[in-house]
């Protein structure tokens, strides 16, 4: 609704009037302030559901705050110092980063490859493009539960298949690396197609003549991909990397529902796949109900995401730097 209306040109006051009329003033005020009114809902909603909880979480994290208790006591940075010395916290940081790396890297590479395939002249092109998005429209909870069953120790299909080829059953839920792989598989299954479509959209915006020029210069398909497509996709890649970083570091539903039964929030008996958000939940809610400590975990998670996102951007900048000037010149020349 708002989009449609915003797209119309603002009613500009008629020029050449001798004196401002009441209508004219209203119009001017309208022209000047209405845009703010239209974008206000986002900022109001963000202030209520984004900024305020963020600030409140910081406030809570400075207290010894029992979720049910009525009198939280101010403890300063105590929660943070305890947290930094908490082995289980660092364990969950390693889990989160581990799952993040083994899910995101293959995911984005695979998405790039898929997008490149879909960008060619294919039969049933729209069908293929829609097909890669299907995993993304299924419910995360359903996906997690189904994968949880597939990766079951005794009744799981994966172990059954492994058994057929003579591999011993794997404890997907009680082995650290195996559980990371299982959860990454789940994440990738769901998000690869989504990223592929974003890459595809960006690829289609690359002018054909650049490929023609590259072909004339003697670049084969692979060379075209690495020297034309990838550098021009850089902003999109950065976008996908940041979105994946935020999502990957906040991973909760998949690992939480991957485990079931008593105390699933631990992510395995030895916290094999407990992510940071699960650790946050475990402390803020059951079984500890220590809201202050949980809030401190939330803020450190925020810091971690900022750091990892910054590192990501740096790496991507570096990677693309070699090819950029050349492309930039061409781009400039053609316009």
């Amino acid at each position: 609704m708002a989009l449609q209306l915003d797209a119309r040109p603002p009613a500009a006051p008629a020029s050449g009037r001798s004196r401002p009329t009441r209508t004219g003033r209203l119009s001017r005020i309208d022209t000047k302030y209405s845009p703010y009114l239209y974008i206000a809902p986002f900022f109001v909603v963000f202030a209520i559901f984004g900024a305020w909880p963020l600030a409140y979480t910081l406030w809570v994290s400075l207290h010894d705050w029992d979720l049910l208790g009525s009198n939280p006591t101010f403890v300063g940075a105590d929660n943070y110092t305890r947290l930094l010395a908490d082995g289980d916290f660092w364990h969950s940081v390693v889990n989160t980063l581990g799952i993040f790396v083994i899910s995101t890297v293959p995911q984005l590479l695979l998405a790039l490859w898929l997008a490149n395939l879909l960008n060619r002249q294919l039969r049933f092109r729209t069908g293929w493009r829609m097909a890669v998005l299907i995993p993304n429209v299924t419910s995360t909870a359903a996906v997690a539960i189904v994968f949880g069953v597939l990766f079951g120790r005794e009744f799981g299909m994966i172990n059954w298949a492994l058994d057929l080829v003579g591999v011993d059953p794997i404890g997907w839920k009680s082995d650290r690396f195996a559980s990371w792989v299982a959860i990454s598989a789940m994440v990738d299954w769901r998000w690869t197609g989504y990223n592929a479509l974003i890459f595809l959209a960006a690829m289609q915006a690359i002018p054909r003549d650049m490929y023609e020029a590259a072909a004339i210069d003697g670049a084969n398909r692979a060379r075209q991909f690495w020297s034309v497509t990838v550098p021009l996709l850089k902003p999109t890649i950065i976008f996908c990397v940041i979105i994946s970083t935020i999502g990957g570091l906040q991973l909760f539903t998949e690992p939480r529902l991957f485990h079931s039964g008593t105390n699933a929030i631990r992510g395995g008996p030895l916290r094999e796949s407990q992510t940071l958000t699960m650790y946050m939940f475990e402390n803020a809610f059951a079984p500890y109900y220590n809201f202050g400590y949980g809030s401190a975990v939330a803020w450190l998670l925020f810091a971690l995401i900022a750091i990892v996102a910054a590192i990501n951007v740096l790496i991507i900048r570096r990677l693309g730097a070699g090819a950029r000037p050349q492309v930039g010149q061409r781009k400039g020349g053609s316009r």
């Binding site: 609704m1 009525s70 005794e154 485990h259 079931s260 008593t262």
Partner: protein
């Protein structure tokens, strides 16, 4: 207003209408027909459906909705805590499990003090310790009235026992295992028969049964002493239960199905284990998980060792309820001796009311699902002399750590010694959080 562009006006009006829609979408507390809706929050199987119907027939202006039936306590208790902390969302009547009672009692103002509403005269309707569990330390506030207690037995699969060449009659099976050592010996025989099933479901469940038994028979406390000191490492009852459990694991009797996991439920369905430690309320869980196809294949024998109590709940009325008086009335009805009997008949939770325990409806009760086992006699016999175990402030968190250590040993991730060290260290950490 005059020339204020019409489409913009429309936009503002639409936005306002949208906002109204969003806000009004939240609250629809009462049914449009003028009835009061009472929401009851439970976990597992409380067996109240028939009782609700009776109550609604007698009180036509009340409609009762139950939430959480069949759910897992681990998922229920954080939700309840969040509702209480948020001051919104909890049902008008909520179930509180005994292990969490102490934590909720620490902040009694979240709940209606039932003593202010004439509950004192009901004291005789409950076993004394059950009544006291709902009472704050100073005795001034009563936040919950008792529902069930968890009298203990051992449920077993007659078909698997027959396959292993073991007796199937419940009297004879009971005679097989006066002690846990005997239970292990039977398990070894069972295992040797290679039936394709394990002897028991999960060492954690069995451990919890044993520790509640050893503690109940000794000082009456397990992880915390009655002055709320953490005594995991110094309480011989805990160590004794740990050692018995290690022997069970050592003998390879456990199927290692993580309790309450999907795997555990599958194992019920696929007849993958032969025995399960069975507090009275577990009979409902077994029936739910194993399904109608296993009807008549289960039976109930006495538990190895002596007695013990696992679980049992209270019903409370959160102060945030908008219909407190009606909710209190409903709680009194559901926790009356008649209410206890009705629940027992439906899903098997054992009454905590002495009157109900003496009633013929209980003493003569049999359970068709469990090969017509005389459940009233089996569970009811020891109920009045049950020795309850005291639960300290962070009981749930500490129990989680200790059971988790059992699980790591069961899965072969830790040796029994390492597991015990983990249990003690993590329990201390949990208690300090």
């Amino acid at each position: 207003m005059g020339t204020f562009p019409r489409h913009r006006l429309a936009a503002v009006a639409l936005a306002a209408a949208g906002a109204l829609l969003v806000t009004s979408g939240c609250s629809s507390d009462d049914a449009g027909d003028g009835k009061i809706t009472l929401t009851v929050d439970v976990f597992g199987q409380f067996g109240y459906e028939q009782l609700y119907q009776e109550y609604m027939d007698a009180n036509p202006d009340v409609k009762i909705v139950e939430r959480g039936t069949g759910g897992n306590l681990d998922e229920y208790s954080p939700k309840l805590t969040q509702w209480l902390a948020a001051g919104k969302g909890a049902g008008d009547v909520v179930a509180i499990e005994e292990g969490l009672m102490v934590e909720y009692k620490a902040n009694p103002d979240n709940f209606v003090n039932l003593l202010d509403h004439g509950a004192a005269e009901l004291k005789g309707n409950f076993l004394e310790w059950k009544w006291n569990q709902g009472l704050t330390a100073d005795g001034q506030k009563l936040i919950g009235l008792g529902t069930d207690v968890g009298g203990m037995a051992m449920c077993y699969r007659t078909d698997l026992f027959a396959k292993a060449g073991l007796p199937t009659d419940r009297e004879e099976v009971s005679k097989l295992w006066p002690t846990w050592e005997d239970y292990i010996a039977v398990g070894e025989k069972f295992k040797a028969a290679n039936t394709g099933a394990s002897f028991l479901d999960a060492a954690t469940n069995t451990f919890n049964t044993i520790v509640l038994q050893t503690a109940g028979n000794a000082q009456g406390y397990h992880y915390y002493d009655t002055s709320d000191n953490l005594v995991v490492d110094s309480n011989p009852a805990v160590k004794q239960a740990w050692d018995i459990t290690m022997n069970i694991i050592d003998a390879g009797l456990s199927g290692k199905y993580g309790s309450w996991s999907e795997e555990w439920v599958s194992a019920f369905k696929q007849s993958k284990f032969a025995t399960i430690a069975c507090p009275a309320w577990m009979t409902g869980v077994i029936e739910g998980n194993a399904g109608p196809e296993a009807k008549g294949k289960w039976d109930i024998a006495r538990v190895p060792g002596d007695g013990g109590n696992w679980g049992g709940s209270h019903l409370a009325v959160p102060r945030q309820s908008k219909h407190q008086d009606e909710a209190i009335k409903l709680v009194k009805f559901l926790t009356s001796p008649q209410g206890h009997i009705g629940a027992f008949k439906a899903k098997g939770p054992l009454p905590s009311s002495p009157q109900a325990l003496d009633d013929a409806a209980i003493t003569d009760a049999t359970n068709a699902y469990f090969s017509d086992a005389p459940v009233g006699k089996i569970f009811g016999a020891g109920a009045k002399t049950l020795k309850p175990v005291y639960m300290g402030p962070k009981n749930q968190a500490v129990r989680t750590e200790v059971e988790n250590a059992v699980r790591t040993v069961e899965l072969g991730q830790r040796s029994p010694d390492q597991g015990w060290q983990d249990a003690v260290a993590n329990a201390k950490k949990a208690a300090a959080k």
